[in-house]
């Protein structure tokens, strides 16, 4: 069986099936004003009892409540004491003469339907909250058993049609190994709570889930959404070992996620991520990333039949900006070329695509394409801390030309009365040796550098990194490459501009201390590499890093450098 995996992790245990009791309409009509007044009073009374119940949950010291839990409980209080809800119920009692039970059921049913019909995924899922608060108030009207107080055996997997927000919070989850529900989506409460508590969960499994009986053995995989009922011994063994691997990895991640990224002598090191779309951001923050050091924009241009319009691009950048929690996002402008072909943009095959018509060279030639992208980035810049980064810069004329095109893009937006961040920072990739060597000149024209070690290495060493025959020559620890990197960092510091590294080397644990020793304080890498690098820097100080740097710079060949680093850093 397959559902939607909403909270990663593997659970193996015995099922406990939970059924919801449905409230029934009685059809009894009210006779006089006195009854009407009494029923309105009953409703108000049930509302305050419900609110008190939630307040009591908040005060209960036996249940560990996270900040998110408290936020959800506060939201429930607002739902329960909503003036619109009361108006509707009172209206049904006074005008339709419905009894309070029926009036509430009808009101809730109307609101649930209203929310379900909305053209918005998030709001649709909130219909479950409304049903839940309706049930809670009803419970206090009929004075039936309150709360969810069942105790579970260790390793219980909860199977239900859906789990109400109030239940996921008041439920004693210490013995709960996992959740599987018939309905639900990524934004339903079961998902949010399960994630916050780190309990594997699969939602939206459909009606098949109803075939599970109490005490059936269940395996669920909260990442893939797979659910197995009474599996064979072999499968249990396979998943037990998967579970162990997952636990040990995630423990390490969790420990590091909220640890500040500083060396033991207090120097802050920014760990940023390289991403390709807004979807990657969740992973970035889960791994403790503090922003985006490189947003590749190629994804926008590939797998399609024509160039994306300004609006399409705007939506892409805006989505990233909105989801970046106010952290910096460095957007690299188009980096296509002979090796990254676009079917709708007929770039001729070239003898040396890496030395050819690509990236900024295309942009400065086809300014129409470039301006469209720049306008889209600028428009999105009011939604977050976006910066512009130009790739493949080899001389200062290119920087000046690109900056004048950025000015043109800004003027076009000004004329059209569109708002944007006029002070948006503009930086460049340092990936061509001439740019590295003239870092002193370039630093005067830009707000930041980002060292792209992959290309810098292949251009400096004249090694095609796609050619397997010479791959042994592709070596970022070559003293020539290290000297270039060091020079770029020193020049950035001298001219007071930011410098980061976004190439592979930034995620190489062997290079971390060496780079910190050079003075690098911003590293950008794939999100999953962040914890390992953080682990190194938080356990070392800059004095050791400086010492490593001094010694490495005195070694004349990369084999010895690598050997030295292996002995001294890991």
């Amino acid at each position: 069986m397959k559902g939607i995996g909403v909270s990663p992790g593997i659970a193996i245990g015995r099922a406990c099936v939970i059924k919801n009791n449905k409230a029934e309409v009685t059809g009894v009509l009210l006779k006089d004003e006195a009854e009407i007044a009494a029923h309105i009073h009953q409703f108000d009374n049930a509302v305050s009892l419900s609110v008190n119940e939630i307040e009591a949950t908040k005060q209960n010291t036996d249940i560990v409540l996270h900040e998110e839990d408290i936020a959800i409980l506060d939201t429930q209080i607002e739902f329960i004491s909503d003036p619109q809800l009361r108006d509707d119920v009172v209206e049904k009692i006074t005008t339709d003469k419905k009894n309070v039970n029926d009036a509430l059921i009808a009101t809730i049913a109307n609101m649930v339907q209203l929310f379900q019909e909305m053209d918005d995924e998030y709001i649709k899922t909130r219909a479950a909250d409304i049903q839940d608060i309706g049930n809670r108030i009803l419970k206090h009207l009929t004075k039936s058993t309150p709360g969810f107080t069942q105790e579970f055996k260790p390793g219980t997997i909860i199977i239900a049609e859906d789990i109400a927000p109030s239940d996921t919070i008041t439920m004693d989850t210490r013995n709960v190994a996992g959740f599987a529900t018939q309905v639900g989506s990524k934004t339903s409460h079961t998902a949010i709570i399960a994630k916050a508590k780190g309990i594997p969960a699969v939602v939206g499994c459909g009606d098949n889930l109803a075939t599970i009986k109490d005490n059936d053995i269940v395996i669920l995989d909260g990442a893939t959404g797979l659910v197995f009922i009474n599996p064979e011994h072999q499968l249990i063994e396979e998943y037990t070992s998967k579970k162990d691997t997952y636990t040990s990895n995630s423990d390490k991640l969790k420990q590091l996620k909220d640890v500040r990224s500083v060396t033991t002598d207090g120097i802050e090191i920014k760990l940023l991520a390289n991403i390709s779309s807004a979807d990657d951001l969740e992973d970035v923050f889960n791994n403790g990333g503090e922003g985006v050091g490189l947003l590749r924009t190629e994804l926008l241009f590939m797998d399609r039949d024509s160039f994306p319009t300004e609006d399409e691009q705007f939506e892409f950048y805006k989505k990233v900006a909105l989801q970046s929690k106010g952290k910096p996002v460095i957007v690299r402008t188009i980096d296509i070329g002979g090796d990254k072909q676009l079917p709708y943009f007929g770039l001729p095959a070239e003898q040396n695509p890496f030395l050819g018509y690509r990236a900024i060279r295309i942009c400065l030639d086809r300014t129409d394409i470039f301006i469209t992208q720049l306008k889209a980035i600028l428009r999105a810049s009011i939604f977050g801390d976006l910066k512009i980064m130009l790739p493949m810069i080899s001389n200062i004329q290119e920087v000046r030309e690109a900056k004048s095109i950025i000015t043109q893009a800004k003027q076009k937006l000004l004329q059209a009365n569109v708002t944007f961040n006029a002070a948006i920072e503009v930086g460049i990739m340092i990936e061509i040796p001439s740019a590295a060597i003239t870092a002193d000149i370039l630093a005067k024209e830009v707000d930041f550098f980002s060292i792209g070690t992959n290309d810098l290495c292949q251009y400096t060493l004249a090694v095609d990194r796609m050619n397997a025959k010479i791959s042994h020559l592709y070596d970022p620890f070559n003293p020539g490459v290290l000297r270039l990197i060091n020079y770029v960092i020193q020049q950035a510091h001298q001219h007071n501009i930011h410098v980061a590294m976004c190439g592979e080397m930034a995620s190489d644990p062997l290079a971390t201390l060496l780079l910190i020793g050079m003075g690098l304080t911003e590293f950008s890498m794939s999100a999953t590499a962040i914890p390992a690098i953080k682990d190194i820097l938080i356990n070392n100080d800059t004095i050791k890093a400086k010492d490593i740097y001094n010694k490495v710079m005195a070694i004349d060949n990369s084999d010895s450098i690598i050997q030295f680093l292996q002995e001294n850093t890991v």
Binding site: A71, I72, D74, T75, E78, F79, D82, P83, Q84, L85, M111, L114, F115, M118, D119, D120, Y122, I123, R126, D129, I130, K318, K319, L322, Q323, K325, G326, I382, F383
Partner: protein
């Protein structure tokens, strides 16, 4: 009466959590405070009404404030929409 326009800066828009914070904020003022999107206006005291407007990230809304303490209420709302909302 004070009327102010804001662009919603949180990715998910005005979902349950910011709506809750907003309602609690407005409750602390005597002024009547409403939110307007397109041609629909609702009081800022009902989470059901606020959510039913489905306000998304990037959209523009207006806030209408009327009452004795409208100036300080406007200040607090300014802070909410410009600062707090991003983190919710």
């Amino acid at each position: 009466m004070i009327t102010k326009e804001y662009t919603i800066t949180s990715a998910q828009g005005i979902h349950a959590r910011p709506a809750t914070t907003l309602i609690r904020l407005t409750k602390s003022y005597k002024s009547t405070i409403s939110i307007k999107k397109n041609n629909k206006t609702v009081r800022l005291n009902s989470i059901l009404n606020i959510l039913s407007m489905a306000i998304k990230g990037g959209e523009t809304i207006s806030i209408l404030i009327e009452g004795d303490d409208e100036i300080i209420a406007a200040d607090a709302l300014d802070h909410f929409f410009n600062e707090e909302l991003k983190a919710l």
